[in-house]
């Protein structure tokens, strides 16, 4: 008898779907409640949506309307990082899903369609909806089926939407999230450019950068230790050619979301200060002059700023190991005239050898002097000592960016492995290590536009590490000698002092 009841429920359940649609449900939402309580709904229109990082233009609509929103769920294999793929679960084609823009007071009729090829049930939870599950239960749908429900955008603000089918963490970790902006009735304050960025995590069974198709790793997820923390769904989604582009003096707004599912984000643009922050994605500017804003998991923030100084900028989750070792980094390219009254750039560079300067220079000179051509003359035991020293320097300093295999990171850190840039000109390589490097370069046909600092290495250390990288990682070049480094260092010191003299004479 108990089983009979269960079956009856089953049969009834499917019948209610068969009759489905609840055809007057949305109409009821639109009209039945007192019109004094809600804005009158006038007409209907398709939702305005855009793919990352772009944001639909302001609605400039003076009335509430019925918005028709179609969302298709897809499970498909996509690129997570260079040489790394993952089976994403997505709203639309991508993680994050498309940016949706509606107006406060709108009715949003949402149809979610679960592709027949998909493997599991999905749904959608709008943080912008007021009602059980944000629509989770109302939209819960098997593969090969669609479900429709309607919700009223009661509160303006920037909201996350995501799949919340059990186990919800897995659906989030597989990429099922996006942002929806509910514009206030009067609209958002106008800016020149708008973009959106959603931070998310991937828990792959292989370590960061391990090539091939990766699987979800449950134990890493439960420990909240993702291999990848990325902006807009993959490593490098906002780097290189995909960097955010703007002109100096333009007002810019970033709509930020954090899908997590585990880690809070400390969003920071290196070298820029946010003028206005709409904390936690609400409608009020609650702070000015902010260096880093928190974007909570399952939450959002909006930041407004104007870039004043042209150049290449990076933005990061300032939990810095995520930026350097897990992918949480993006780039901004700013065009415009230089602004030396705000930022000079490097004005000079000198050698700084506190206290022992004379002795050290003397020591280098004496040790180098008796062996004018060490590159040709070192014995094999000395060779291996230099190799060991080079390896040590590499692992201590260089692996952080160029990676232990010398491959770098696509779009972010140039490769040293089989690198034409490195091998073409050993003197240039020495210069880079002595001075650092900033600005666009082309390596193996790919453009990089980053910053490499000057690590203040000794001549011997530079010679050793350059010899190491030029004879490893698939490179086969001549080693570099300490005297070569010394020579270039002297040249640079001389060149560095000349412009300074000229500037001084110009002033006179």
């Amino acid at each position: 008898m108990k089983q009979f009841v269960l079956f009856a429920v089953a049969a009834f359940g499917f019948l209610s779907t068969a009759q489905a649609g609840f055809p007057d449900a949305s109409a009821a939402l639109g009209t039945t409640r007192a019109s004094a309580e809600f804005d009158e709904i006038r007409g209907e229109e398709r939702a305005v949506v855009t793919s990352a990082p772009f944001v639909p233009p302001p609605l400039n609509r003076r009335h509430a309307t019925k918005v028709l929103l179609d969302v298709e769920v897809k499970e498909h294999t996509k690129v997570l990082a260079d040489g790394v793929t993952y089976t994403y679960w997505t709203f639309g084609d991508d993680a994050p899903g498309q940016f949706i823009r509606v107006r406060e007071g709108d009715l949003v009729q949402t149809k979610i369609s679960n592709h027949p090829d998909n493997s599991v049930a999905h749904n959608i939870d709008f943080h912008s909806a007021t009602g059980p599950g944000g629509g989770g239960e109302a939209s819960f749908v098997a593969p090969g089926h669609s479900a429709t429900f309607t919700w009223r955008a009661m509160r303006a603000g920037l909201y996350l939407y995501h799949c919340v089918a059990a186990p919800a963490g897995l659906h989030l970790a597989n990429g099922m999230y996006g942002l929806i902006l509910v514009e206030p009735k009067q609209g958002m304050p106008k800016v020149d450019k708008e973009f959106f960025i959603v931070q998310g995590e991937f828990y792959t069974n292989g370590a960061y950068g391990e090539r091939g198709n990766q699987q979800f790793d449950m134990s890493k997820a439960v420990r909240e230790q993702p291999e990848y923390v990325v902006f807009n769904g993959r490593v490098g989604a906002l780097m290189g050619e995909n960097a955010l582009r703007m002109k100096a003096g333009e007002s810019v707004r970033l709509y930020l979301g954090n899908a997590g599912p585990a880690l809070m984000s400390s969003f920071h643009i290196v070298g820029e200060i946010f003028d206005d922050v709409y904390g936690e994605g609400g409608t009020k500017v609650n702070q000015h002059n902010v260096q880093t804003t928190v974007v909570p998991v399952g939450g959002s923030a909006m930041v407004d700023f104007v870039m004043d100084v042209p150049g290449a900028y990076q933005f990061v989750d300032h939990s810095m190991f995520r930026a350097f070792n897990k992918g949480a980094m993006g780039a901004i390219e700013v065009e415009g005239p230089v602004r030396p009254e705000i930022f000079s750039g490097r004005q000079s560079q000198e050698i700084f050898n506190p206290g022992t300067r004379l002795q050290r220079v003397a020591a280098v000179t004496t040790s180098a002097a008796p062996a004018p051509k060490p590159a040709q003359q070192v014995a094999s035991s000395a060779d291996s000592a230099i190799h060991a020293q080079g390896k040590e320097v590499y692992e201590k300093i260089c692996t952080v960016c160029h990676q232990s295999d010398g491959r770098g990171m696509a779009g972010v850190f140039p490769p040293l492995a089989k690198s034409d840039y490195l091998m073409h000109d050993s003197e240039r390589a020495i210069r880079v290590l002595l001075e650092g490097l900033q600005g666009p370069i082309t390596v193996n046909g790919q453009t990089f536009n980053g910053v490499m600092p000057n690590f203040s290495l000794s001549d011997a250390e530079i010679a050793a590490v350059l010899s190491y990288v030029r004879t490893n990682f698939g490179n086969s070049g001549a080693p570099v000698a300490a005297v070569d480094v010394q020579r270039v260092r002297a040249l640079l010191a001389k060149a560095g002092s000349e412009p300074k003299d000229r500037t001084a004479s110009d002033r006179r």
């Binding site: 089953a10 493997s119 599991v120 049930a121 749904n123 239960e137 819960f140 593969p143 699987q215 449950m218």
Partner: protein, 266 residues
């Protein structure tokens, strides 16, 4: 209005179900040995199933009787034999009530599955059709308890997705492990899981809600999808199965949903 339309059809559906429920409840205590099973079946000895979701705060155990279990899911070829003998279940004739329009959608016509899929698991079959097939074969669909008992040996050390641990290598989905993994004691049998979900007779008796966190409501016995109520919240395979089952209706015919039958040991 909905009720008016629903009531007679509900009755109609229920009548067919009573018969099925009757056989399902008929517990046989006779010979409980492997010899009772046929060649393509696997004997599953009596055991205990611990439901994935607690009742209140209790973790219960449910005794499960021994059964003879089809070693793998029903193929197109086998289902073709069934619809030959039972014309009412052909795609042109099936009552709309019993299957949605996608029923056997990868068949060219009533009696023609594409030749290349003959030996593959039949999918796009409704719960009604699957139950009818099993009944005609002298068995029935397994209950959730039975299915979880023989196939819920699920996640390798509760590590979904770690395919290195997935000797079954089931299918393309990285979550194929959730579609079935032999209970340890059945590891050396012919029991196979070809990478499709499987119907169970009471698929919707333990609901996972579409949303975590709704179990606080009055209807918590139906909507208990939150991790707190799960016996083992790290068993994502089980979550995926219960979630999938609770998205189903009895007339659904899906691309990745097949079935196998069980027979009670006689």
């Amino acid at each position: 209005m909905r009720l008016l339309i629903a009531a007679p059809t509900l009755l109609l559906g229920a009548i067919g179900l009573v018969a099925e429920a009757g056989t399902a409840n008929h517990v046989v205590h006779a010979c409980k040995s492997t010899s009772a099973c046929r060649t393509h079946e696997v004997f599953v000895p009596a055991g205990v199933y611990v439901p994935f979701f607690k009742t209140g705060t209790e973790t219960r155990s449910v005794p499960v009787d021994p059964i003879c279990l089809s070693a793998t899911t029903v193929t197109h070829e086998e289902f073709l034999g069934f619809v030959r003998d039972h014309p009412a279940w052909r795609k042109s004739r099936i009552k709309k009530l019993y299957a949605e329009s996608s029923y056997l959608t990868d068949w060219q016509d009533d009696l023609t599955p594409r030749p290349e899929i003959l030996s593959q698991p039949v999918t796009f079959v409704s719960w009604f059709a699957a139950g009818a097939y099993c009944k005609a074969a002298g068995g029935r669909l397994p209950t959730v308890a039975e299915w979880e008992r023989f196939a819920g040996g699920s996640a390798p050390a509760n590590k979904p997705g770690a395919t290195a641990d997935d000797p079954a290598g089931t299918g393309n989905s990285p979550f194929a492990f959730a579609m079935g993994r032999s209970a340890p004691e059945l590891a050396n049998t012919a029991l196979a899981f070809p990478g499709v979900w499987e119907w169970t007779s009471n698929f919707n008796s333990a609901m996972v809600s579409g949303r975590i966190g709704t179990s606080a409501g009055a209807n918590s016995s139906q909507f208990c999808g939150d991790g707190i109520r799960a016996v083992d919240p790290s068993n994502y395979g089980a979550f995926l199965r219960y979630s999938f089952r609770s998205s189903l209706r009895a007339n659904f015919a899906l691309k990745n949903l097949g079935f196998r039958c069980v027979r009670e040991v006689s």
